[in-house]
Assembly symmetry: C2
Homo-oligomer: 148 residues x 2
């Protein structure tokens, strides 16, 4: 799945991504970045709205896992079960969220889990930086339900 | 602050609340409910998007604390520092988030903290139910920065 295909999928299936003016910035099987401009995502302080930052982070993590399972030609669905987000400093400009797998072990553990059963879980960290400093750290626990 | 005033504030300051078609359902100093229809907030499974559920929960918690500090005639700003959200079952219809203070102690602790310094923190739980069962549980750690 390339950036254009992912963007089309998100716009077609998740109306909020259109309202956020989300753009797929880069896609690889190891790392994925999503972008959104500040204006439609601002809060009353003129900085990025906590809900927009979370939504962008969630979609980055969800997309990374969706691209990963497509690469492996596994079919199924990716859902978010639990997430934790910490806002370390305000984002006073456009939003860019970057998801990458924590380590090779978490990807291997997912593959091993899926050999034994129809679903597997993985925690995917996503970060949002502003002015070269970490602004938001997100950890999402995603579950992949494999279809037989 | 009544429901109409809160709705106007959210629509004016947070564009994503307009895209979500958020409606303020009920407001009191102890409990606050926000509603959003499924259609603009759906995901690719046809259920509520994780980011919309989070945004609604965040805005419910933020609004409850904003109404609470306005009642006490404290002026300042409310920001979200950290949040944790668990998705227990899919929301297959419209979204309603209810925020209420965990207990009187947390409200008292906030007031005591604000007697000593310019800011205080409080954790506000928000729940989203579907078909009479708990679907989403959210805990947001909010900080109130008091202006002098």
């Amino acid at each position: 799945m390339n950036a254009d295909q992912l963007q089309a999928l998100l716009y077609r299936e998740i109306p909020l991504s259109v309202a956020m003016q989300l753009q797929v910035h880069s896609v690889s099987p190891e790392q994925l970045s999503l972008y959104a401009p500040l204006l439609p995502n601002r809060n009353l302080h003129g900085t990025a709205f906590a809900g927009s930052l979370y939504s962008l982070a969630t979609l980055a993590g969800w997309s990374l896992l969706t691209v990963h399972v497509a690469e492996r030609q596994w079919s199924g669905s990716v859902v978010l079960r639990h997430a934790d987000i910490r806002y370390q400093r305000p984002v006073e400009g456009d939003l860019t969220a970057t998801a990458l797998f924590a380590d090779g072990d978490s990807v291997l553990a997912l593959a091993h889990e899926l050999e034994r059963r129809q679903r597997g879980r993985i925690v995917i960290p996503v970060t949002i930086a502003h002015d070269g400093k970490l602004a938001v750290s997100f950890n999402g626990e995603f579950v992949f339900h494999r279809h037989t």
